[in-house]
């Protein structure tokens, strides 16, 4: 009897032990390992940085970057306060003029200070999202049409195959010239530089989205198409009820792919064309060549990476929200 009890308690502790071990394993897999990875990277980075000397000083290590994050934030605050004061002064002046002369039309001039790091981040984000959305509006319907019609596919495929491998940066000079020739208006809603960047982003998003959407649409399960035929669904309903939901996974694959490319291309385009955004920030700092430049560029590099990662994660969560195909490995 006693031995039996012993056995049971022994087994009991044994199984709790197992649970704890499994839990520890899980925690170490999902939290500890990534942290370890980051720590090792930071160590390697700072030793490497210490050993690299450039004409602009030592290569920035983690400490220098952290310092710049604070600096850039303070510069941003300072710039904002300056802007506020600028507008305040104008209002005071206008109020005074108005008191002297009731017919005076008050004028507010916009503040034209230097764009801060934060402003550049916002500019790049707006540009990439607008270009991406514009591409989606064009590419998804086109991809569906190409996927549904074999003849359209045969007709368009060579064009897609030729333009797909072209780096959108090669388009940039042409885009710039065409935009400055055609986009003329006295009071433009968008700056020309914005339009240039946007079209470049759109161009590079277009092909992956068209291709993936059309592949998704043309490889729909034959049975589902037969269901639609038996039900005699009209064309639009067929697209809405069968084609679109069935190809959501493929459409999102294309969208994630192109958003990733778009973010990389946009930074390069901004550097090349001096269009406002993170790329211009990097280029300006490089041209500036102060002792802080390298650490500011390094900060920008990390921020670019972080934003790219967050963009991909947000696409992923939208995808898993919309997609019926929970089995697809979401990575």
């Amino acid at each position: 009897m006693n031995t039996l009890m012993d056995k049971i308690t022994f087994n009991g502790t044994e199984s709790t032990k197992l649970v704890v071990i499994n839990l520890l394993k899980h925690v170490s897999q999902s939290i500890a390992l990534p942290i370890l990875g980051i720590l090792v990277f930071l160590a390697l980075w700072s030793t490497a940085a210490n050993n690299i000397d450039t004409s602009l000083g030592k290569f920035p290590g983690p400490g220098a970057v952290a310092e710049q994050v604070v600096n850039l934030y303070q510069e941003h605050r300072a710039e904002r306060i300056k802007a506020e004061k600028f507008y305040q002064r104008q209002e005071e002046r206008n109020a005074k003029r108005l008191a002297q002369d009731p017919n005076y039309q008050p004028k507010i001039r916009p503040y034209t200070g230097k764009e801060t790091f934060w402003d550049q981040i916002i500019t790049s984000l707006i540009t990439v999202m607008s270009g991406f959305l514009l591409a989606a509006i064009i590419a998804i319907p086109l991809g569906i049409a190409v996927g549904l019609s074999r003849s359209l596919n045969t007709a368009i495929n060579p064009i897609i195959q030729i333009f797909k491998p072209v780096s959108p940066l090669a388009w940039l000079p042409l885009v710039t010239m065409v935009v400055s020739a055609l986009y003329v208006s006295d009071d433009p809603m968008f700056a020309k530089s914005f339009v240039n960047s946007l079209i470049t982003v759109t161009l590079c998003c277009l092909w992956p989205m068209v291709i993936n959407t059309s592949i998704g649409v043309s490889s729909i399960d034959e049975d589902w198409v037969n269901v639609s035929k038996v039900l005699q669904l009209p064309a639009l309903k067929h697209i809405q009820k069968i084609v679109l939901p069935a190809s959501i996974p493929a459409i999102f694959t294309g969208m994630r792919l192109s958003l990733g490319i778009a973010w990389m291309v946009l930074i390069a385009a901004e550097m090349l064309a001096q269009n406002p955004g993170l790329g211009k920030f990097v280029w300006d700092e490089f041209q500036n060549g102060s002792s802080q430049s390298l650490s500011r560029i390094m900060t920008a590099v990390l921020v670019i990476g972080l934003i790219g990662f967050l963009l991909d994660r947000s696409m992923l969560s939208i995808q898993s929200l919309l997609s019926w195909n929970k089995q697809t490995d979401l990575r």
Binding site: D223, N226, V227, V230, L231, Q232, P245, A246, Q327
Partner: protein, 281 residues
């Protein structure tokens, strides 16, 4: 007497890279209203092709199908199909899958409330009302097939076409499904064409068993009447001499007269029933 459904002199020739392939040659069959027909034959002989031509999903090279004096030209909800792999839309729940069909067929004739009642009625008929808001990946294979049948029944078709509806299910589930189908059939008296590779299933469910010869150029070899009284009970039938005679007739056709060429060589006389079933499937 004029028949309700007439498959008339059907030839089917597929264009393949190796040249034309005659799958079916002069297939003729007359089916009465309310009749339950099984199509049985070795795999690849052309059963699905016959069914798809009746459904309107394939166009026969020669001949045609006439239902209620009208020739079949396109697919339509009056010839509902239950596919082998359930073919439910995975992004819709069981209810929504049936709803898509019901809305398409009855949107002009039924009110919103009537549509909802009709969807629920059909899911109840196949005993799926408890899981009607689950998606296909949350229910078992048998349950998916039930929803597929509910979707087909909900269209109130003139003919119900089923392509190996229980082929992918385990034996026990299959038996349950056959009992359910018999129950439903007693109530609705649909005209049904069902493809099967299970001889017992064919005898249990059918009024007539249509046996097809091997392809190429497959056609109807023999037709076996099944005049067993309904309702039928699988346990009681297993000792019924008439049932066993019908069963052995079908087996004889498949195994003696239409054995596959490959299986003749080697093991001629030692085939037992399980081996036959494997060949048929």
């Amino acid at each position: 007497m004029k028949s309700f459904l007439e498959i008339s002199h059907i030839d089917m020739v597929f264009e393949t890279p190796k040249g034309p392939f005659t799958a079916l040659k002069s297939v003729d069959l007359k089916i009465n209203k309310g009749e339950f027909i099984s199509l049985i034959g070795h795999s690849g002989c052309g059963k699905s092709t016959v069914l798809n031509i009746v459904a309107g999903l394939l166009k026969a090279t020669m001949g045609g199908v006439i239902i209620n004096d009208k020739e079949v030209t396109t697919p339509g909800p009056e010839r509902a199909v239950v596919f082998q792999n359930h073919s439910l839309l995975p992004w819709l729940t069981a209810y929504q899958n049936v709803e898509l069909a019901v809305k398409q067929v009855f949107h002009k004739t039924k009110s919103k409330a009537e549509i909802r009642d009709w969807i629920e009625h059909n899911l109840k008929l196949v005993h799926m009302d408890h899981a009607m808001h689950k998606r296909p990946d949350e229910i078992s294979g048998g349950m998916k097939q039930r929803v597929g049948i509910a979707r087909a029944l909900s269209m109130q078709p003139e003919v119900l076409l089923m392509d190996e509806p229980f082929g992918a299910l385990d034996a026990l589930t299959r038996a349950h499904m056959q009992d359910s189908l018999m129950e439903i059939q007693d109530e609705l008296k649909n005209t049904v064409i069902m493809i099967t590779h299970d001889v017992d299933e064919a005898v249990l469910l059918s009024d007539r068993i249509v046996m097809m010869t091997n392809g190429p150029a497959a056609t109807i070899g023999e037709i076996q009447e099944v005049n067993l009284a309904r309702p039928r009970n699988r346990v009681a039938l297993s000792n019924d001499p008439e049932y066993n005679e019908i069963r052995s007739n079908v087996l004889t056709f498949l195994y003696e007269k239409q054995r596959k060429i490959e299986t003749i060589t080697g093991k001629q006389s030692t085939l037992d029933e399980t081996e036959i079933k494997e060949q048929i499937a």
